[in-house]
């Protein structure tokens, strides 16, 4: 069991992979952390000493925005756009794609599952 950055308890996996279970740490930053702290990427989390776990925890606390803090940051950015009344904000309010993608078809990630329209087909 290794608790890093609050609630995350990835174990039994290789260190760079386990670290990506933390929101805000992807493959790139996970690799960078291992390199910085001189931890072999092939080692697994349960092989780490307590000392090393503490090192990782402190390194992440000092250098990365993760988990709740990151989610709040993202939400604040979206809220700022919505309050401004700019085009991007309007798209966020409507839950439509923000970056100029087509909406005639596709855009299902933002729009959610397709809703059947009554009486569309002849």
């Amino acid at each position: 069991m290794a608790r890093i950055a609050g609630v995350n308890i990835p174990t039994g996996k290789r260190v760079p992979i386990a670290l990506t279970y933390i929101t805000g740490i992807g493959h790139t930053s996970a690799k960078a952390i291992c390199e910085e702290l001189k931890i072999e990427p092939s080692r697994r989390v349960n092989e780490l000493s307590d000392q090393e776990v503490i090192q990782i925890r402190e390194h992440i606390d000092a250098n990365y925005t993760v988990e709740g803090d990151l989610r709040r940051d993202v939400q604040m950015n979206v809220k700022r756009l919505m309050d401004l009344g700019c085009y991007r904000g309007l798209r966020h309010r409507r839950n439509l794609p923000v970056r100029g993608q087509r909406t005639h078809t596709n855009a299902r990630t933002r729009k959610g599952p397709a809703k059947a329209i009554a009486g569309k087909k002849k």
Partner: protein
């Protein structure tokens, strides 16, 4: 791709002139502009621009957060009232 920094922000020159005149006169009238493509500069903060959307001038009060964006972003060009089919479905 974003614009090269060495070019500086793009602003139509008449917008600059109008903004300058408005600040010197001190009155906060709506400054009518058609240039939706111009960047919002720090010296525009506090002024009110009427940004043309193809039909009329939408009044936009410039705040600090808007710096660096374009005027056009604050003046939507399309009106969408939803689909007729959706409304029929709701009535039933």
């Amino acid at each position: 791709m974003s614009r090269s920094v060495w070019k500086g922000p793009f602003v139509d020159s008449y917008v600059l002139k109008k903004a300058e005149a408005a600040r010197e006169s001190g009155r906060n009238d709506v400054i009518k502009i058609w240039s939706r493509r111009s960047t919002i500069l720090p010296q525009f903060v506090g002024l009110t621009f009427g940004v043309y959307n193809g039909q009329k001038h939408i009044p936009v009060n410039i705040t600090e957060d808007m710096i660096g964006q374009k005027f056009g972003e604050y003046s939507p060009t399309r009106t969408y009232y939803g689909h007729a089919a959706d409304k029929k479905a709701k009535r039933k």
